[in-house]
Symmetry: C2
Subunit: 140 residues, 2 copies
DNA sequence: TTAAGTGCAAATTATTTGCAGTAAG
DNA sequence: CTTACTGCAAATAATTTGCACTTAA
């Protein structure tokens, strides 16, 4: 599980997009998150395990702080489905998710396939910040 | 904030529906939750504060355990929006919610007004357990 | 009487923070 | 240089649990 130059390049650009200093730890995390160009859904613990598996040394507290920083920079989206832990999504567009209830896994649902025809009327003095749609799945 | 006979009656019936023993503590909580016939959204802490305000003595641990029991009996629905705490809804039908981001308040959204035209295709070997829709509101 | 429910206080889990040391601009 | 970042270890917050005691059936 070595990090390739390609992944490092993607990570560096991604950090630059968020206006964040490319420290060694941030780069290691960024490479894990966007290195292969695909979207990912991680928890602090899962990302911590991944980065340690890649050989890089990053503390768990830094993983937490960094995920927060990435969110504030608009690079990640935090998703709450489980109550016990936070998930972070590299896809920052408002889109639906599948949540596997048995394994606690989160995955993108194709947003083109969701069509909301009508939304409930929003109360006065309010505007919609986001619409979270989580489709909970049960294994058959 | 005294509990009326009416509220107690409603609470008792509600507990019976869930097949739960009507203890003093459970009755006090049930009366707060369904006593007036309206749906409510509570957290363990908010319900604890309410019940203490009514004069009844119930421990916080019992509030937690009882909310769990009510959920398992199908009397309540747990909702996760905030990450830090759990909300419990007396309306157990699958319906959308408004979540006020500033105050952390949860409220029902009229379900008739939400129309989902098409849902993403569910992966093989899975069925939909529920579709959670949370409309996050920002005060304008 | 007896299995289920309750109340503490201690344990757990996910996450944040204080602060001394390290590194990026 | 100097301000931001990192890593511990300790703090916090929401929730659960162990266990002796109480109560509904």
């Amino acid at each position: 599980m070595t990090v390739t130059p390609q992944q490092i390049k993607r990570g560096t650009e991604w950090l630059a997009d968020g206006g964040l200093r490319p420290t060694r730890q941030r780069l290691a995390l960024a490479a894990m998150l966007v290195g292969d160009g695909n979207h990912r859904h991680v928890t602090a613990e899962s990302l911590f395990a991944d980065v340690r598996g890649s050989g890089e040394k990053v503390s768990l507290a830094t993983v937490y702080n960094t995920l927060r920083a990435f969110c504030e920079a608009g690079l990640l989206h935090e998703i709450t489905v489980d109550g016990t832990k936070s998930y972070f999504d590299t896809n920052t567009h408002d889109h639906p998710h599948f949540f596997w209830e048995d394994s606690g896994t989160l995955q993108d649902a194709p947003s083109e396939e969701l069509e909301i025809k009508r939304l409930p009327q929003v109360p006065e003095g309010a505007e919609v910040a986001a619409v979270d749609v989580v489709i909970r799945l049960r294994r058959t």
